[in-house]
């Protein structure tokens, strides 16, 4: 019992009651949606300006979160905790750590870009209103520290995305939107079961709580087998969302039919809800079950890498190709998460950002091509580099980032995932490297067919990139280069949270992160060894204050 008490103490985080920054961050786009809804339908320009303004404001607040974030703390920061329902205990509890921090930043970045870069042709008002609602939902899901609150946000995002696809999409948009909605809803149903069941089982007849930290830090209350079943119920929802092979087929349809802004957000932000879910509601909430399921998840991740790449190679529709490349990229992230090493997990988190940046840019570019040519069929495009050299150059940069060229952002995540996975799942990591070869194959082949060659009659007058289009892409291009060369500001904020997470899994399961051969330590230059030693000490410090309690709980039972 004393262990339990201690654990709940440990679960309490660094709160900042003075200023509810995170709540304001979520409520800003909500307010934006309301304002947009109140503006007259006959003023489309005004709706756009208002929407962009609010999304920029949200972006600025997200940057504010990044700036005020204390990079030394491994736990949750800036926690807002307002009780919603007393019994069962459900709270509006928000908090940010090194993992959700970058998801929030990515969301704050991509929404204004999607609004500015891919405006709709009609019905501006509802389009922007839905986008702002979507933004609030995504931010809420990333920031929630209450399992029920998370579920609410996780579900809310489906509605605006459904209407965005079915309202502003292409050809078979109704089919794609319904498929997207029902498929993800199907997954979420399991998660709802898991959420409710976990809290009631955890209570053991006492007060019921949905507080994520309490549920996660007090491991061992729920029997091992039960916890595994509960994990599976969450995992199904996340697997559909990521998506993991073989529940991925909603993705190509949804992407192909969605409007450009929808695709950017869907790939850039919404898929991350799945991988983020695996980190927060998989490894953190069910450490033992995650380690137990890791072999299967790693396998599915690697299958996704190869399978997605092979399918991408054979696509005839450019947008579908990019969609399948997402399946491959998300496979890398899943591999990294379930390899459960510091390098792989850090790589996965940064790869989520990278994928959002580069795939977001790719979807924008594909959208621009469609705007001009009204086709996405690769066979109908040819030689675009001659009339549009600037677009070709931008496409090349983004493509190389997606291929994982060192010096650009994609490499940082992919490489960390692979080298980290190599430590625990050696041969799977080696197989996954072949995905790197395939990525070069499908993207370069597509590039050759679309941009190289002599442009024919239909493609001769293709217009090069416009100023506003370039403006929307510019921040993404800067990030592609910056994150490739100076990933440290990102890595050093992710790392404490990841270290804590790995430790959490190690304490609560049989999983052990293999140490790198000690022989290496002797040869590391003095200065580096010192830095490493400090990091290791930092880990111990964390474990003493926060994680040791979880350990105690386990033993107490």
């Amino acid at each position: 019992m004393s262990a339990l008490l201690l654990a709940s103490e440990g679960g309490r985080s660094v709160a900042n009651p003075s200023f509810p920054l995170l709540s304001i961050l979520i409520l800003t786009p909500v307010a934006g949606a309301l304002v947009v809804a109140l503006i007259s339908k006959r003023r489309p320009e005004l709706t756009k300006q208002a929407a962009v303004l609010f999304s920029l404001l949200t972006g600025a607040l997200a940057i504010g979160v990044v700036v005020t974030f204390d990079k030394h703390l491994p736990g949750f920061q800036m926690v807002d905790d307002v009780q919603w329902i007393k019994n069962p205990d459900i709270s509006w509890k928000l908090g940010v750590d090194g993992i959700s921090l970058w998801m929030v930043a990515l969301t704050g970045l991509l929404f204004p870009i999607a609004m500015l870069g891919a405006p709709p042709h009609d019905e501006e008002k509802s389009f922007y209103a839905w986008l702002l609602v979507l933004e609030a939902g995504c931010l809420g899901a990333f920031l929630a520290l209450d399992t029920f609150l998370f579920f609410v946000f996780f579900e809310i995002v489906l509605v605006p995305m459904y209407f965005l696809i079915s309202g502003w999409g292409y050809g078979e948009r109704r089919y794609a939107a319904t498929k997207f909605f029902l498929y993800t809803m199907f997954g979420s149903a399991f998660m709802l079961v898991g959420t409710v069941a976990l809290s009631y089982l955890h209570a053991k007849g006492g007060p019921v709580t949905f507080d994520l930290q309490v549920l996660a830090e007090q491991q061992g209350v729920v029997a091992e087998t039960t916890a595994r079943w509960l994990f599976i119920s969450f995992a199904i929802a996340f697997a559909v969302k990521v998506p993991i092979f073989p529940v991925h087929t909603w993705l190509p349809d949804a992407h192909t039919q969605a409007p450009t802004a929808g695709s950017v957000i869907l790939a850039g932000v919404m898929l991350k809800l799945g991988t983020y879910g695996f980190l927060r509601y998989g490894l953190y909430l069910f450490p033992e079950a995650s380690a137990w399921a890791a072999p299967v998840m790693v396998t599915l991740g690697v299958v996704g890498i190869i399978y997605g790449a092979v399918c991408a190679t054979m696509q005839k529709d450019l947008k579908r190709l990019v969609a399948y490349s997402s399946v491959a990229h998300m496979g890398f992230i899943v591999l990294g998460i379930f390899a459960i090493t510091r390098q792989a997990l850090t790589g996965s988190v940064i790869q989520m950002v990278n994928h959002g940046v580069s795939t977001g840019a790719l979807f924008l570019l594909v959208g621009y091509i469609y705007e001009r040519r009204h086709t996405r069929q690769i066979a109908e495009l040819k030689g675009l580099q001659t009339p549009a050299p600037k677009m070709a150059a931008i496409f090349t940069l983004v493509m190389l980032s997606s291929i994982g060229l060192p010096g650009l952002n994609g490499f940082v995540g992919e490489f960390l995932i692979l080298i980290g996975s190599f430590l625990t799942v050696k041969w799977w990591a080696v197989v996954a490297v072949t995905g790197v070869i395939l990525a070069a194959l499908y993207l370069l082949w597509a590039y050759q067919r679309v941009f190289h060659g002599e442009p024919d009659e239909a493609n001769r007058d293709f217009r090069d990139i416009r100023f506003t289009e370039g403006l929307a892409l510019a921040p993404l291009l800067v990030l592609i280069v910056f994150m490739g060369l100076f990933p440290k500001p990102f890595l050093e904020r992710i790392e404490p949270a990841v270290n804590k997470l790995v430790h959490h899994v190690e304490v609560n399961s049989d999983h052990r992160e293999p140490g790198v051969s000690t022989k290496g330590d002797e040869v590391v230059p003095e200065s580096e060894r010192r830095a490493e030693g400090e990091a290791a000490e930092g880990d111990h410090a964390t474990s003493d204050t926060e994680q040791g309690d979880g350990h105690g709980t386990e033993e107490g039972n």
């Binding site: 092979v310 490489f415 080696v430 370069l444 060659g453």
Partner: protein, 655 residues
């Protein structure tokens, strides 16, 4: 001084950035001069670093500079740092030196091209990447440069991208190289897992503690990477196609610098190879020897002036790998340097010929150009004598050295190397005769001499203006000074480059003493007598001369006409190796990929849609609740879920 190493790559990077920003405004020829100046600055910085290093005691000749932390994660820690030691500075010197000349040459060669400034932008970026490759103080920076040169190579091969053949060649180079990169990446993983570091100084210090199996895997994987970059069997296929790029690119990237990346990597990692099982060096030597011979046989039958040199490059790289596998690291690096001189010279010479021939690359249309282009001809012939190992020319020293070590490893390897040397003498002499001597054939269309020319060019994807000159009469002329000056500089280097490591007396082995601290771990030690060395040297030299004489008998007396009895179709087609791979990839390979895509569409997604339609049909009876509003369905789902949750709960509580 050692703080200024970063200047070496900074110059080309600055050139690249400036050209991205202002290249179009600078235009021709200013953009070219800017790029050339940037590389010249880099060369000057390399020279300064070289002298600074030389001033240090032998054991302390290494400067390490860390610019910033690149990937610091947990126990994995990689810095953006440079290592200047005898090996990397040697590479820097010849890379920047030759690159300066080739930049200068390009100003003339690319004259009038609408994408003039873009060409120099790519060239500068390439040199920057190449310098990262050689200067990196850890495997990952080397890999950064490694992939960077691959990307630049891709841009430059497909530079004239409106031709499908060029675009395909660029893509092929990138993808084939990526197969090799697979090996490089896996080698990095194994190194990190075993040693906890991927810093070269750390690897050198810790390599004796490596388990043999681990060292073996690392070495074998590195070799796979090297096979891709340095165009060895079975991954050489991209290099001949890479000749689709502008000729200065072929000279710089696909002959002198980038393709030596694999040799550099293996030399850099020689302590690990020294710890590996003995079959790895054997494999390297065998692959090298076979590649040298295989590519030489193909070179014999080529008609494209650049294709001969391309296969020759593959063959010469094979010699370098033969040396590496035989433990002759110094000889491999020595040959790499002399090869950079004479092959760079030969490629630039061939570019000058193509320029003078108004774009014609087919040697069957040349002949008698000696009088029309005297500077090009004389310098080209210096390169020719150097490559066939004519006494006292550069290749003479370096090739003898390699064959000496090969003999020490195995007489069979030595024999293969000798055969390749003979063929080198043959095909190079054939080229010189066909281009510069005999009767001129540029005054009449090629169709007269080659009836099935149209079909042949169709198959090779050659169109007028891209590898084929004008149909009518061509008026060959000597090239402008920007193009001939680099030839005039490289000519003497190809002539005397061999004295860098002269075998004639011990003190003349400058390169060996210079590189010793870096390669001493893997370097083999010969116990051959002086007499044997002299005999082998004479034998190797004779091979080149026999080839020369044989070619003169076949072509010289025949006024440079082609010979069908020797130029078999199977050789012209490169033993059908490349076309077999292409047929496989386009046939079964593509079908396999298509099958998976079909599976995805019809089986996986089919199952999803199948379930959906079953649900739809069965719910026909419950039509009354079907309102068509998604929110109602959602509500139903939520309620259903709660019911299920309740069931589980009750079970869990009672159970």
């Amino acid at each position: 001084m050692n703080d200024l190493i970063w200047l070496i790559p900074a110059f080309p990077l600055a050139g690249f950035v400036l050209l991205v920003a202002f290249g179009r405004r600078l235009g021709e020829p200013l953009a070219g001069w800017l790029a050339t100046g940037a590389i010249a600055g880099s060369f000057a910085a390399s020279v300064a670093t070289f002298f600074a290093l030389q001033g240090e005691p032998v054991r302390e000749r290494a400067y390490e500079v860390t610019l910033w932390e690149w990937l610091p994660v947990g126990g994995f820690h990689v810095d953006f740092g440079f290592l200047a030691d005898p090996l990397s500075i040697t590479m820097c010197l010849f890379v920047t030196g030759i690159a300066t000349l080739i930049h200068l040459y390009s100003i003339g060669y690319m004259h009038g091209d609408p994408k003039f400034s873009k060409f120099f932008l790519y060239l500068n970026l390439f040199v920057f990447s190449m310098l990262m490759l050689v200067l990196g103080d850890n495997m990952l920076i080397t890999f950064l440069g490694w992939e960077g040169v691959g990307a630049c190579s891709y841009f430059l091969i497909s530079f004239w991208h409106t031709e499908d053949a060029n675009a395909s060649a660029g893509k092929k180079a990138f993808v084939t190289n990526r197969i090799g990169d697979f090996g490089f990446m896996v080698a990095i993983f194994f190194t990190f897992a075993a040693l906890g570091t991927i810093n070269y100084t750390g690897i050198v210090a810790a390599s004796p503690s490596l388990a043999t199996t681990t060292a073996t895997v690392i070495a074998a994987m590195l070799f796979l990477g090297a096979c891709g970059k340095s165009a060895q069997l079975p991954l050489y296929v991209w290099l001949p196609d890479a000749m689709a790029g502008p000729t200065p690119v072929s000279a710089l990237i696909h002959a002198a610098t980038m393709v030596t990346g694999g040799v550099y990597l293996l030399a850099r990692m020689n302590p690990v190879i020294a710890e590996s099982a003995s079959w790895v060096p054997w494999m390297i030597a065998i692959v090298g020897a076979l590649t040298a011979l295989f590519a030489a046989t193909i070179a014999v039958a080529q008609n494209d002036i650049k294709k001969v040199l391309a296969y020759s490059t593959v063959s010469q790289l094979g010699f370098m790998f033969l040396a590496l596998g035989s433990g002759a690291y110094v000889a491999a690096l020595f040959h790499m340097i002399t090869h950079a001189f004479f092959k760079g010279l030969l490629f630039l010479g061939s570019g000058s010929v193509i320029h003078g021939m108004e774009g014609e690359q087919d040697m069957r249309r040349m002949g008698g150009l000696f009088k029309k282009m005297p500077i090009t001809a004389v310098t080209f012939m210096v390169g020719w004598l150097a490559i066939i190992g004519f006494p006292l020319f550069a290749g003479f020293f370096s090739k003898d050295e390699i064959l000496l070590f090969a003999y020490d490893k195995s007489p069979i390897l030595w024999l293969i190397g000798m055969a390749a040397a003979l063929l080198t003498g043959f095909y190079m002499t054939r080229q010189v005769i066909m281009v510069f001597f005999g009767a001129p054939r540029w005054d009449r269309p090629l169709e007269e001499a080659v009836p099935d020319l149209h079909a042949e060019r169709e198959a090779a994807g050659i169109h007028p203006g891209h590898g084929a000159g004008p149909i009518g009469e061509i008026h060959p002329h000597e090239s402008p000074w920007t193009m001939t000056l680099p030839l005039i500089v490289l000519g003497p280097l190809a002539l005397v480059g061999g004295w860098l490591n002269s075998a004639f007396w011990e003190r003349g082995k400058f390169l060996e003493h210079w590189l010793e601290p870096v390669v001493e771990f893997g370097e083999a030690h010969l116990e051959a007598t002086t007499l044997l060395k002299v005999e082998l040297g004479i034998g190797a030299t004779l091979m080149g001369l026999i080839g020369l004489v044989a070619a003169w008998f076949v072509y010289g007396r025949n006024k440079g006409e082609a010979k069908d009895r020797i130029e078999r179709r199977v050789l012209l087609k490169g033993w059908y190796y490349d076309s077999s791979i292409a047929a496989f990839m386009g046939g079964p390979g593509r079908k396999g990929f298509d099958a998976i895509a079909w599976f995805d569409k019809h089986v996986i997604d089919g199952a999803v849609n199948g379930v959906a339609s079953v649900v739809r049909v069965s719910s026909d009876k419950g039509r009354t609740v079907q309102t068509g509003y998604v929110r109602n369905y959602a509500l139903g789902l939520v309620f259903g879920a709660i019911v299920v949750a309740g069931l589980i709960l009750s079970k869990a509580v009672t159970g």
